[in-house]
């Protein structure tokens, strides 16, 4: 079932068209990678899907038009993980993750047992429980990435949008985060992740959306989406294909 559907979505920012006529559908149980060169419009498209930037066209969230939803309602259905794992204050990890429950909070009461259960689950899934009381600013990059993901998971929204969740992580943490995203998808969520690592995308994603100059130019399983001609045309690279486990994955060979 499609949890989020976009049809003919375009975004203009400061007189420039950043995203043009994007069509996509995210189904429950699916991990979809959104790839494309720098400046292709991936982040803008994702922000439009999250309702953070005005867009034309139609975006339906669980059968409802996104722009007709109240912000809190929308926030219960879409968890958005921005780039860069930003934490401005040295708050405790548990308090940060509790922020994921904000869309569920009743303005007149404090956190519920359900909130605490969701936070604990998110902390356990991301293996961040052991430093739940530490100030988030004192953590390493890999730990911060997991906390950021825990915050998004704590919302328990059916749709998870993650912008470069593996950026600036060491190889092991990249795998850890991708496993977490895949598990979130297996639990029935629709997960869309912007990625630059085509190898990781090919290994973990069920489907790949390739973006180029504001348009989605491919929407296919990894092997098809990463056809050598397309990688040459979109990324300007000559890719080498290797086998990892039972998957064929591309590795950037040389720049064209």
């Amino acid at each position: 079932m499609s949890l989020l559907t976009a049809q003919g979505v375009s975004v203009r920012l400061g007189g420039t068209t950043i995203v043009q006529g994007a069509n996509l559908s995210l189904r429950g149980g699916e991990l979809v990678a959104l790839v494309g060169p720098n400046g292709a419009g991936k982040t803008t498209l994702m922000r439009a899907l999250a309702g953070l930037v005005p867009a034309t066209g139609s975006i339906m969230l669980g059968g409802q038009p996104l722009d007709s939803m109240k912000p809190r309602d929308r926030a219960r259905h879409i968890a958005y993980l921005p780039q860069g794992h930003i934490f401005h204050w040295p708050m405790a990890v548990a308090s940060i993750v509790m922020l994921g429950r904000a869309p569920h909070a009743d303005p007149f009461s404090s956190t519920s047992a359900q909130d605490h259960a969701a936070v604990e689950r998110a902390l356990m899934t991301t293996e961040t429980l052991s430093f739940a009381e530490r100030a988030v600013t004192t953590l390493s990059g890999g730990e911060k990435a997991r906390v950021a993901l825990a915050r998004a998971l704590a919302t328990q929204a059916p749709v998870l949008l993650a912008d470069e969740p593996t950026a600036a992580l060491d190889p092991r943490h990249q795998l850890v985060v991708m496993e977490l995203l895949r598990n979130a998808a297996r639990a029935g969520n629709a997960v869309l992740a912007i990625m630059h690592d085509l190898t990781l995308a090919a290994r973990f994603a069920d489907r790949v959306l390739v973006m180029d100059r504001g348009r989605i130019v491919a929407d296919a399983p990894p092997t098809k989406a990463f056809a050598p001609e397309r990688l040459a045309a979109v990324f300007g690279i000559q890719a080498v294909s290797v086998e990892v486990g039972d998957k064929r994955v591309p590795i950037a060979g040389r720049a064209l």
């Binding site: 926030a75 993980l81 204050w89 004192t138 953590l139």
Partner: protein
């Protein structure tokens, strides 16, 4: 639990300081005489406690609370521990308008024309800020416009000092700008309190947004916060409260910057939980400064803004020293 503890401790401190504030002055009162005078209103002790020292004490607490709360709210909004109430120009505008009245309106410093002008000045500066930056402006644009307005208001004040009809008025303005609670009455309280109250409501209503903003504006918006609305409410709230505070007491510096830092650690840096303790800490700080003034030599009254800075800066430096690493955000 930890939060409630700090709030209780600060409340107890404020009550103690308030009683002290009723006792201290040219005519000293014992705690008992001060409280009896306050309750009964009889005799000289009654006049001193009720009519002279009570308005001063309540104003000190309200102004301190407003400054502390404003500082905490702005730091929450801007995600920056350097933010302080003077950032958007409202206190400078209030000071300029008040100086104008003192210089050319022939109003004595303690007349009501001064606070009313101050509040109007602050209101005009907010209207100007909103008009220049636009209702949904980005943070950078709002800050730049605020900075410009603050500089402009500062220049206007300097111009007024420059053009003052005589040196006594210039001196009067200069002293007024340093802040004081001397000879403030219940009427001053009545003028300023509604604005401060309105500002508290506006700022406190955004507590949850401040907490969400620790993740940045996009993540906060994705969690259901209306960031543009929060920004507008905070700008207006700070201008109302701080404008009113400056209008009745002159510029009381540093409280808005320091008060949040005094209590941030106790609330685990949570920008939402910070609001109440920061307000209480601000109230205690201004009360203590106003008491210190009256304990000093009585020939020349040291100005309130001078004392808040003299008390605030060393405390502030001590905190910076202790929390260098946290403030730098570097992994320890």
């Amino acid at each position: 639990m930890k939060t409630i503890r700090i709030e209780l401790a600060l409340a107890a401190l404020i009550v103690t300081l308030a009683v002290l504030s009723l006792m201290v002055g040219p005519a000293g009162l014992s705690p008992r005489a001060a409280i009896n005078g306050l309750i009964s209103g009889d005799g000289p002790a009654g006049v001193i406690a009720r009519d002279i020292r009570l308005p001063r004490t309540v104003l000190a607490a309200l102004i301190g609370a407003t400054l502390g709360l404003s500082g905490a709210a702005l730091q929450g909004l801007l995600r920056n521990p350097l933010a302080e109430p003077a950032l958007f120009g409202a206190p400078q505008a209030a000071a300029a308008a008040a100086a104008l009245v003192i210089a050319f309106g022939f109003a004595p410093v303690t007349s009501f024309a001064v606070p009313i002008a101050g509040i109007l000045g602050a209101a005009i500066s907010i209207a100007g800020l909103v008009a220049i930056a636009g209702r949904r402006a980005s943070l950078t644009v709002t800050l730049l416009a605020g900075l410009a307005l603050a500089s402009f208001a500062g220049a206007v004040t300097a111009l007024i000092l420059n053009l003052a009809p005589n040196p006594f008025i210039a001196l009067e303005i200069a002293f007024w700008l340093l802040g004081s609670l001397e000879d403030r009455s219940t009427d001053h309280l009545a003028i300023a309190a509604p604005f401060m109250l309105a500002s508290w409501i506006l700022l406190a209503a955004n507590a949850r947004a401040f907490r969400a903003l620790t993740l940045g504006e996009d993540a906060a918006a994705s969690l259901g916060a209306d960031v543009a609305r929060t920004r507008m409410l905070v700008v207006v709230g700070v201008a109302l409260g701080v404008g009113a505070a400056v209008a009745v007491a002159g510029a009381v510096g540093f409280v808005g910057l320091v008060a949040p830092h005094l209590v941030r650690r106790a609330v685990g840096s949570d920008p939402a939980r910070l609001l109440l303790p920061a307000a209480l800490a601000g109230a205690a700080l201004v009360l203590a400064a106003d008491i210190a003034i009256r304990l000093g030599p009585s020939v020349v009254e040291i100005k309130l803004g001078v004392v808040t800075a003299l008390i605030g800066v060393p405390v502030f430096l001590a905190i910076i020293f202790r929390e260098r690493r946290l403030l730098e955000g570097a992994p320890s």
